[in-house]
């Protein structure tokens, strides 16, 4: 049994599923990272993902245009992000709680719309797998299947990691985000509009959450069903803490979580004698344990969840 497990760890297909599973988390967690680095905790990610998933799905279902699908998801995600920003920045509502409200709303609303406009589940022609010429059929260690045989959104998600890191660390916008999250009073005194920055990050975060949902409904699963995300949005928030508010840390967390998940699916086949309940439990346990012993170097924004008031 043990050697079954050892063997499966290095199975190419496990690596490939890891990458697929990680994709929605990467989108959502990167978005959440932006918001939190500017001081806003959005617990409503899952609700926004669900709305993004449905809008993307419905757009593709009706227009058969993937572009429109993505745009629809970005749009609704941005809209809900904007709402979240208004609630937590302008109305200064308790962020943990209002997030739960947004989640419940998204959960119900996406299902409601689905029932109204679609009804019975139908699959859509989502993003096809793009085999990168030359690379995708790379046999060595199955690298081809692992890295070069996914749909477009998967590549986009991974490309977004360095991009987000760059924006945060190397641009003026990023500088403002970090300042606003660390010491809003100072940023304000230097003529940076705390409100504007937070609106931007939270809205952007919403758009990415919407995209995360779409990556499920029109790229990875190509269907929609009630509560399609099955709580992935909450994991995404947790992964931001895991990643220490750093894009690469978030990537690490998403990959670890997804790897263990892919592994447990494989082990369920290779070593069926292990109770599947424990297999399914594994990713969650491993994530906690990993964080227990992870370095405590964190970029925790001092002003996280604290509304800004001048003077």
């Amino acid at each position: 049994m043990i050697d079954d497990i050892i063997g499966t760890v290095f199975k190419a297909s496990v690596a490939a599923s890891t990458i697929r599973l990680a994709t929605p988390y990467i989108f959502a967690s990167l978005g959440e990272t932006l918001g939190q680095r500017s001081g806003v905790l959005n617990l409503g990610v899952d609700g926004i993902m669900l709305m993004g998933a449905f809008f993307g799905y419905y757009a593709v279902l009706t227009t058969e245009s993937l572009i429109l699908g993505v745009l629809a998801a970005l749009f609704i995600g941005g809209l809900m992000g904007l709402a979240m920003a208004f609630i937590s920045v302008t109305l200064k509502a308790e962020q943990g709680i209002s997030g739960i409200g947004v989640y419940l709303f998204g959960l119900g609303m996406s299902e409601l719309l689905f029932q109204e406009f679609v009804g019975t589940p139908q699959s859509v022609d989502g993003f096809p797998r793009i085999s990168i010429p030359g690379l995708s059929d790379l046999q060595f260690l199955g690298l081809g299947d692992i890295f070069f045989n996914h749909n477009l959104l998967v590549y986009v998600a991974f490309a977004l990691v360095p991009m987000t890191a760059f924006v945060l660390n190397r641009t003026n916008f990023g500088l403002m985000i970090r300042a606003v999250g660390q010491n809003p009073e100072a940023a304000d005194a230097m003529g940076v509009s705390v409100t504007r920055v937070r609106y931007l990050t939270v809205t952007l975060g919403g758009m990415l959450a919407g995209l995360a949902g779409a990556s499920l409904s029109i790229a990875l699963l190509n269907v929609f069903q009630q509560n399609l995300t099955a709580g992935q949005g909450f994991i995404a928030v947790a992964l931001v803490y895991f990643g220490g508010w750093r894009p690469y840390g978030v990537l690490l967390g998403a990959m670890l979580f997804s790897f263990v998940n892919a592994l447990q699916l494989q082990i369920g086949i290779s070593a069926p004698e292990i109770p599947s309940e424990f297999a399914v439990m594994a990713p969650y346990v491993v994530t906690i344990i990993a964080l227990m012993f992870a370095s405590k170097r964190r970029e925790r924004p001092d002003a996280l969840t604290v509304p800004f008031e001048r003077g």
């Binding site: 199975k11 490939a16 019975t120 699959s123 499920l216 269907v223 069903q225 099955a230």
Partner: protein, 322 residues
């Protein structure tokens, strides 16, 4: 509520169009209404009560209203509610499934499906279709008719071709589509070239099957539309068969105490061949129907014993007084 139309109220955990468990009951009630006519048969249906408490509220509400001749709790997780509720409303007739425990109450009907039968047939045919010799199954939690179906499927495969491996992944959820989907992907990565599964999260695996052009076998409801031309065979629950029996009994003043099983024998289980599968190749279709019917007859006649080594099995086909 003797005179006037026969009135039924039912709760079901997921959506009426989930292509699975809940839909099977909704379709049955709709069918009965079509047969008996709107003015002889009415029903209210509350779906999406995956929260047990919601179902409890609805059931008690209906029971206490006294407006209904039959109150149905469609979902084995509702058993404990009924167990408490029924004794308080002896004048109301209740039915629940899938289970066969009437709690020894004479106003409770229980119903279940011999899911292993369709499972066996699907398995037998799947075994003949696989080239890699590996078949993949995505299951929710190893319980109820899901377990029966999978056990039957495995038996069907074994009986047809012992060399074929059946990999079963229980994802521990009835609704986690992303996980079910990745489970299907993993099964394929482990050489499965035929797929089946049960519960409402199979919409994910079905999409995987169609994407990879692998044959898909279904259960509970017809998934023909979703499966495109990769759908093969679907075990379909026809609860209307047992419901009609219950209605008859109730009208004769018997409010419960009996436990029903839908099966191939009583026509409560039907096998539907995916129409798109053979396109207009009438011969192939005919041959395939031949094959299926042979299996059906075998089971009905008792020539085929699904669980040979377990004489008692499947318990679900016996009648037990709780």
């Amino acid at each position: 509520a003797q005179d006037g139309p026969f009135r039924v109220a039912a709760v079901a955990p997921s959506a009426t169009n989930d292509l699975a468990f809940s839909q099977s009951m909704f379709d049955a009630l709709t069918k009965i209404q079509e047969e008996l006519g709107e003015d002889n048969f009415e029903f209210v249906f509350q779906d999406g009560t995956f929260i047990v408490d919601d179902a409890a509220v609805a059931l008690r509400d209906w029971a206490s209203s006294g407006d209904f001749d039959l109150v149905i709790a469609h979902g084995s997780q509702f058993g404990s509610i009924l167990e408490e509720l029924a004794p308080e409303f002896p004048e109301v007739s209740f039915a629940w499934g899938t289970d066969q425990n009437t709690f020894g109450l004479d106003n409770v009907f229980a119903y279940t499906a011999a899911a292993e039968q369709g499972g066996y047939i699907n398995g037998a045919i799947a075994a003949g279709m696989t080239e890699t010799g590996v078949i993949g199954v995505v299951g929710p939690i190893e319980v109820g008719d899901a377990k029966l179906y999978v056990d039957g499927f495995v038996a069907g495969v074994a009986a047809t071709n012992p060399d074929v491996t059946v990999n079963v992944t229980w994802i521990q959820s009835f609704s986690d589509v992303p996980l079910a989907t990745e489970a299907a992907e993993t099964l394929i990565a482990n050489d499965a070239d035929v797929l089946t599964g049960t519960a409402q999260m199979v919409v994910g695996p079905i999409a995987v099957a169609t994407e990879n052009d692998l044959p898909w076998f279904g259960t509970q409801s017809s998934q023909a539309d979703l499966a495109g031309d990769d759908g093969v065979l679907f075990q379909i629950y026809r609860w209307d068969v047992v419901l009609k029996d219950m209605i008859e009994q109730i009208q004769n003043g018997t409010l419960g105490g009996e436990s029903f099983v839908i099966s191939l024998e009583n026509g409560g289980i039907e096998m539907e061949i995916d129409p798109d599968r053979f396109g207009d190749d009438a011969d192939a279709l005919a041959a395939f129907e031949e094959q299926v019917n042979a299996l059906v007859d075998g089971i009905v006649s008792g020539e085929i014993v699904i669980f040979p080594d377990e004489a008692a099995e499947p318990a679900a086909t016996e009648e037990v007084e709780g």
